[in-house]
């Protein structure tokens, strides 16, 4: 009898999405995938926070890159508060399309307040037909119970849940992983060197006949297009260690590649206006 009850208790206490070899979404970067045990767990809640308000696009890009791996036929719900879409911009279909996500599969939901947002997220997660749900919220703490509810909903339906936040939250979290993502400068760029794509007209033997020049200002060393880079920091991982990487988005194969094997050796000097120079 007691044994039976213990077993039931164990079954109830089981953390969702951890036992029983859950399906994972590999990043394609071996260093990260081994640390995550194969990749991000699909049927779980993951937090992606930007290092600061300005870095939100990078965090959103990171989240969308994760979403991209979910399924060939994606059904994505992007849920945010009213002000968020006005402040940070509405998802742009042409940009999503170039990123490799079908814009017709996106449903945008704007909620008047936090409560509606969490409700909408949970509804979308509980519906078995969605494959990924992104909830974007501005600064402010979230109730631990709400996170727990979302995790459970994601685990039940096998939907990927991503919580996108404008700044790294100070509170503890019950999410499966928490990432802090910011944009990173591309060190391959030689600042200020002008690189012109010259067009030569063989008939008139003159350059720039088309009226204006297409060019890149600040070219990369090997004269390629500049690739976006992200600094991704895994600050919480329920299945193991944490780490931090600089990732580069490669358009050609549509996934991240590791740009550097470690963080830059020396951090950039801090701006300390309060310290008077003697």
């Amino acid at each position: 009898m007691i044994d039976q009850l213990r077993q039931r208790l164990q079954a109830l206490q089981r953390r969702p999405g951890i036992e029983g070899r859950p399906s994972t979404l590999p990043f394609g970067v071996p260093a990260i995938d081994t640390m995550l045990g194969g990749g991000l767990i699909r049927s779980a809640l993951h937090e992606v926070a930007a290092t600061g308000e300005a870095h939100l696009p990078a965090a959103a890009g990171f989240a969308l890159a994760v979403v991209k791996h979910v399924a060939p036929s994606l059904r994505l719900f992007w849920i945010a508060e009213d002000m968020t879409f006005a402040e940070s911009g509405v998802p742009h279909g042409a940009g999503l399309d170039a990123f490799g996500l079908a814009p017709e599969q996106l449903v945008m939901v704007s909620a008047a307040h936090r409560r509606d947002l969490l409700w909408a997220m949970e509804e979308a997660l509980r519906c078995g037909a969605t494959t990924a749900v992104i909830g974007e919220m501005r600064a402010g703490a979230i109730d631990g119970v709400a996170i727990r509810r979302l995790s459970l909903a994601a685990a039940e339906s096998g939907t990927l849940a991503l919580l996108l936040r404008t700044e790294p939250p100070g509170d503890g979290s019950t999410a499966t992983t928490r990432w802090v993502v910011g944009a990173a400068p591309n060190t391959n760029v030689i600042p200020g060197r002008e690189h012109c794509e010259r067009t030569r007209n063989p008939e008139t033997d003159s350059e720039f006949v088309s009226g204006f020049r297409a060019r890149t200002f600040g070219a990369s060393r090997n004269d390629e297009k500049i690739k976006p880079r992200l600094a991704a920091q895994l600050v919480r991982n329920r299945r193991g260690p944490t780490g931090s990487w600089i990732l580069e988005w490669s358009d050609s194969n549509g996934q991240f590649i590791l740009a550097t094997h470690a963080q830059p050796l020396a951090a950039t000097a801090l701006h300390r206006p309060h310290r008077q120079v003697a």
Binding site: P57, L64, A86, G89, H92, A94, V109, A112, C127
Partner: protein, 510 residues
């Protein structure tokens, strides 16, 4: 056809809104031309000889003790509208007969009350209880009912005997202009009976076609259409309760029952619900109408109930049943042909599930908050796509056409997020056509280290408001943030009198 005339609508409105009874004669005044005249008077005032049309100064001189209130046409109209809403309990075909009457087409509805006389009794009882002075009549035509309500016996019933009722009534009962009534009186014609048997041609020649048209309409020789206030729902189910209900669960249970009743009718007609409305009739005469939309034709009663669960949860003010609802009606406002259900194909089940989710979210948050992107036929980035309510969008929303265009045109990179409108920035750039070297956006200074571009996007030159050409750049700043910004206008146009080019930020890349 039932014509209801609320004789003292404006004064009844004032009296109803008062807490204490006062006995001073009440008159309502309004400005007509340059004179303040009485527009309405209650029974006490009428007994004193104060009739509408009298100048206010004269009325005050006659009876200084009268209670004078300025007219409020909007409040009267609103009151009439709410009474019309309430009359929907008798029939869906209710028309306002301005300024103080209603027309109800009760054909086929009266038997629900056990007959036309019983319906009249029910209606009069409720009107009396709410404190309205009224008179009403039922007749075969709008004209006859109107005439009988205003000039005949109160609560009269004149079906099939329109002619005998009409002959004794004055001409103003035919809804003729006052000028016409005067000119008829001038030749000695006072009652409708005077002209019923006269030859028609001379009458038309003398008084114009209006007179005989109105007579024909009243006698039923010519059809007069009724314009209902609300569009008539193609499918309706309703339920009356002997005991008023008030709890939300009861309302939802009733909704489910009504939806089940609608289902068979919908299946028979091959239709599904796109927009549905639940009307709840409160015992004190207030009608609550709650509408919900769907993203695909719907028939399943459970789905319809689920919509109203969200709608009721989202109501800003609670349902407020007061003393309870004594009737509920579920009407399908928009129906659409619904293909027979396909069972067994996995993806369609998923799609249905998704539609249900979209409906639920739209019902709770409002359809404008649940949106999908639709590709538009424009090359200007902010016009190239719009976010439309997801319930209104189906199919690929123009994106396959966009992909064809993108493949042909080899579109340069586009940002992941686009600002609602381009935001002006202060930028230092190379003249004439270089990318910015540094710029300030939302008070933060960004030092550009790399830029790609320009991509020239012409304004809509065919339109006056097309705006100047834009040169878009994709730039990266020192900390790795990537922006999409543009210069509106060209420096070379400066010579032609155009303003100096301005810089804007339009979107952000990952």
């Amino acid at each position: 056809m039932l014509s209801l005339w609320l004789r003292r609508l404006s004064t009844d409105r004032i009296v109803r809104s008062r807490k204490h009874e006062t006995f001073a004669p009440l008159v309502i005044t309004g400005r007509r031309g340059n004179v303040e005249v009485l527009t309405a008077a209650d029974d006490a005032a009428r007994r004193l000889g104060l009739m509408p049309g009298l100048a206010l100064a004269q009325a005050r001189a006659m009876h200084p003790g009268i209670d004078v209130i300025a007219e409020d046409v909007e409040a009267d109209t609103a009151l009439l509208d709410s009474i019309a809403d309430w009359c929907l309990r008798y029939t869906p075909l209710v028309a306002c007969d301005m300024p103080d009457g209603l027309l109800l087409d009760i054909s086929g509805c009266a038997h629900l009350y056990g007959g036309e006389r019983e319906l009249i009794a029910d209606l009069s009882g409720r009107l009396e209880k709410s404190g309205f002075a009224y008179s009403l009549a039922i007749a075969g035509t709008i004209g006859a009912a109107w005439a009988a309500a205003r000039y005949g016996e109160p609560a009269s019933y004149a079906c099939g005997e329109e002619r005998s009722v009409l002959v004794s009534l004055p001409f103003s009962a035919l809804r003729l202009s006052p000028a016409m009534v005067t000119s008829l009186a001038r030749v000695g014609l006072k009652r409708i009976g005077d002209i019923v048997d006269l030859p028609r041609a001379p009458l038309t020649a003398r008084f114009g076609p209006d007179l005989l048209r109105q007579l024909d309409r009243a006698l039923g020789n010519e059809h007069e259409p009724l314009t209902p206030r609300l569009p008539v729902a193609p499918y309706v189910a309703e339920q009356r309760f002997p005991e008023p209900i008030g709890r939300e669960e009861d309302v939802l249970a009733i909704t489910l029952r009504l939806a089940r009743r609608l289902q068979s009718a919908l299946e028979h007609g091959g239709d599904g619900v796109r927009r549905i409305e639940l009307s709840l009739f409160r015992t004190d005469g207030v009608v609550r109408r709650i509408a919900a939309g769907t993203s695909r034709p719907l028939r399943d009663p459970e789905d319809i109930r689920a919509l109203f669960v969200e709608r009721l949860a989202a109501l800003a003010d609670a349902l407020d049943p007061g003393f309870g609802f004594d009737m509920a009606r579920l009407s399908v406002i928009v129906a659409e042909p619904c293909p027979p259900e396909q069972i067994g194909i996995g993806s369609s089940e998923d799609a249905a599930e998704l539609c249900r989710l979209v409906d639920r979210l739209s019902a709770r948050l409002g359809p404008r908050r649940v949106r999908r992107l639709v590709a538009q036929d424009s090359h200007i980035p902010e016009l190239a796509e719009t976010a439309m309510p997801a319930q209104a969008v189906n199919g690929d929303a123009g994106w396959s056409a966009f992909r064809r265009y993108r493949n042909e045109a080899d579109l340069p990179p586009r940002p992941l997020r686009l600002l609602a409108r381009p935001e002006p920035i202060e930028a230092v750039a190379e003249v004439p056509d270089g990318p910015p070297l540094r710029f300030r956006w939302r008070r933060a200074l960004h030092e550009v280290i790399a830029a790609e571009g320009p991509e020239r996007i012409e304004g809509a030159w065919w339109s006056e408001h097309g705006g100047p050409a834009r040169d878009y750049f994709r730039v990266e700043d020192k900390s790795g943030l990537r922006f999409w910004l543009f210069r509106a206008g060209l420096y070379r146009d400066l010579a032609h009198g155009a303003g100096a080019p301005a810089w804007f930020l339009h979107g952000t890349f990952a």
